[in-house]
């Protein structure tokens, strides 16, 4: 076994080791690249939150197979609170219209509502939420004029009957799309 002193003598000097280490040349592009990677993490977080939001409002596995019945979309007279004429898919701006829903086709143990969305995705008409039995007296759901306007806004209007869970709409039970023409 060699003496400890001999080992110490043969071992390379620590400073020699340091001298053998060559520092990598500093490249100023590296900090930019690293900053980009940090922004990347933020971007991934944003997209993950977005995905979470989507899944919260569109939870998978919510399809019950239930279907609500929309009898049609008709001209509406607000003074008489009644509908008239045939079922239509297009209206002009000065015409008021309403959807008629048959709530009796739905089971009584669910919470539902019905809404009109205009082309800006604003809610412009609504009944509910409640059980189909509670809403049985509200079969006509008219589109309301936006505050301060004389006519309906043109564009695509979407009417949906939704099933709610925990106060959040989770399933569309029926849907109708109508067009309000510009002229």
């Amino acid at each position: 076994m060699p003496a400890l002193g001999a080992c110490k003598q043969n071992a390379p000097h620590p400073l020699d080791k340091l001298a053998a280490v060559r520092a990598a040349p500093y490249d100023p592009v590296r900090p930019l690249y690293r900053a980009l990677l940090v922004f990347d993490i933020v971007a991934l977080l944003i997209l993950a939150v977005g995905l979470g939001e989507f899944l919260y409002f569109e939870p998978p596995g919510q399809s019950t197979g239930l279907k609500a019945t929309i009898a049609g979309v008709y001209l509406y007279d607000p003074t008489a609170d009644s509908t008239s004429g045939p079922d239509r898919r297009t209206f002009i701006r000065s015409e008021q219209f309403a959807a008629v829903v048959n709530w009796s086709s739905l089971p009584q143990n669910i919470v539902v509502d019905a809404r009109w969305y205009d082309s800006f995705e604003a809610v412009v008409g609504r009944v509910g939420p409640g059980t189909p039995e509670q809403l049985a007296g509200q079969t006509t759901i008219p589109v309301g004029l936006p505050a301060g306007l004389k006519y309906n806004l043109p564009g695509q209007y979407v009417f949906v009957v939704e099933r709610l869970q925990g106060g959040v709409p989770v399933e569309v039970l029926a849907r109708r799309i109508v067009l309000v023409e510009r002229e």
Binding site: P28, L32, L36, A43
Partner: protein, 472 residues
């Protein structure tokens, strides 16, 4: 003293870098990307027309000829860059005529099938005229951001045209289809909003980013680093914002004019998109893509290059998504307070991304400035005569360069100013070439550097620069 070969008998090539021997590998990638873009445009137009039959889809279909003309003009324009002055002039004229025809045709199609349909050609024309000065200002500012070596106007305008015409055409089908499917399948509300925001972020940023990617692959000589990437990206974004502003202004005018407030609605859109959102919206998003590509330009490892490019796209998509998806969480009141709220909303939601772009830009400018100063010193030390030791501190500072040009203007008039500006630009080109060669980021022959050096010496002649006297 370095010696270099005598000037060749062929006409001198004054581009930053003459044509390389053989075509670089990236050209194949460029062709692949261009073919994909063309397929997307053709397929989107036909599919949208057949299956969705929306007015914009008809626009896209009839606009295909215009898109083809833009593509042809771009190819001829790019070819012109590598040719001798006589050929270049001929090619540029052809490209200009084709581009002009394409723009006219496109505007005609847009007017007839979209804006005229919505609000009439008069409103469309007024909207376009209202957006022109603000967008031009935006382009001017964006180009000026590159303090050391400004990008050529022709490329900045090509980027702008892509954003305005090609990118908007590319997204029509995808967004229409996505919207049609989502509206029939999803629960209206925040979930649908998030889905639409994903579609806008993904499709629009991909369509805009392709322009920056193509410039990076094709015009490597004019795409130096992160600063250039941000400039080109922002220009593409401004183009997209220009066309989108006109579309929104005319549409809202048509919607609200029966109520007597069409002008206010259009004016509000103009302010929101052309003043408040000029730099905060699309310009910021696509600048982020440009930053990623610009950083990739100077990375060595292929893996890191791919990550940097993908990162730019990812950040831009996230930024765009966050605005579209969460806008509804910051409602604006109709009272006077709403005026404050709308500014705060933009600042809070897009401000951090714009700040990120500015941070990358400032770092890039600082880094580029240091690198160029180092190259000025090295060139001066070699004693080639292209850069004199006394000129180094002036060339290294944009302000001192400007002061020297103003001095020349005072002493020798506009001619002296322009001559000195040309000399400074050539000196900056030379330093940029040296920098890229030192970093092994260049695939052009060494003659390019010699050519640039000869160019500087030629421009230095007293007859070319009447009042050249370095300020110290």
């Amino acid at each position: 003293m370095i010696t270099y070969p005598p000037t060749s008998p062929t006409p001198p090539i004054w581009a930053a870098n003459p044509r390389p021997r053989g075509r670089p590998e990236r050209y194949r990638l460029t062709i692949a990307v261009a073919v994909i873009v063309l397929i997307v445009l053709v397929a989107s137009s036909i599919l949208d027309y057949v299956y969705l039959d929306t007015i914009p889809s008809r626009t896209a279909l009839y606009g295909l000829l215009s898109v083809a003309l833009v593509a042809l003009a771009t190819i001829i324009g790019v070819r012109a860059l590598d040719r001798n002055p006589a050929d270049r002039r001929r090619h540029l004229i052809r490209a200009g005529v084709l581009l002009g025809l394409a723009v006219l045709l496109w505007l005609l199609v847009i007017d007839v099938f979209v804006f005229t349909g919505a609000a009439g050609p008069g409103v469309a024309a007024i909207s376009a005229l209202a957006c022109l000065p603000t967008t031009a200002f935006g382009l001017f500012v964006v180009r000026r951001m590159d303090r050391n070596e400004k990008e050529p106007w022709r490329l900045v305008l090509v980027a702008f045209a892509w954003g305005a015409i090609v990118a908007t055409s590319m997204v029509i089908w995808g967004e229409s289809l996505w919207s049609a499917v989502a509206e029939r399948a999803l629960v209206p509300g925040p979930g649908l909003d998030a889905s639409t925001a994903f579609s806008a972020g993904l499709l629009e940023e991909l369509a805009k980013g392709v322009a920056v990617l193509l410039l990076f692959l094709l015009m490597r000589n004019e795409f130096d680093d992160v600063v250039d990437g941000i400039v080109y990206g922002a220009a593409v974004g401004l183009g997209f914002n220009f066309m989108e502003s006109i579309a929104y202004m005319t549409n809202l005018y048509a919607i609200f004019s029966p109520e007597g407030v069409g002008g206010y609605a259009a004016g509000f859109q103009w302010y929101a998109r052309q003043v408040l959102g000029l730099f905060f919206g699309h310009a910021t998003y696509t600048a982020l893509i440009g930053a990623g590509i610009g950083i990739a330009r100077q990375l060595v490892s292929r893996r890191q290059k791919v990550i940097a490019v993908a990162s730019g796209f990812l950040i831009a998509i996230a930024a765009h998504f966050s605005w579209d998806a969460w806008l509804a969480f910051f409602p604006i009141e109709t009272s006077a307070l709403g005026l404050v709220e709308i500014h705060l909303r933009t600042l809070i939601m897009t401000g951090p991304f714009t700040a990120a772009v500015i941070a990358l830009l400032l770092s890039g400018i600082r880094y580029e400035g240091k690198a160029l100063a180092e190259q000025f010193q090295k060139e001066a030390a070699e004693g080639t005569g292209a850069i004199l030791p006394a000129e180094v501190p002036i060339l290294a500072s944009p302000w001192r360069r400007l002061a020297q040009r103003m001095h020349a203007l005072g002493k020798g008039g506009v001619r002296a100013y322009l001559a000195l500006a040309r000399l400074q630009t050539a000196q900056l080109d030379l330093a940029m070439e040296r920098w890229h060669r030192e970093r092994k980021e260049i695939d052009e022959p060494l003659e390019a550097e010699h050519e640039l050096r000869r160019r500087v010496i030629e421009l230095r002649r007293p007859s070319r620069v009447p009042s050249l006297k370095p300020l110290t």
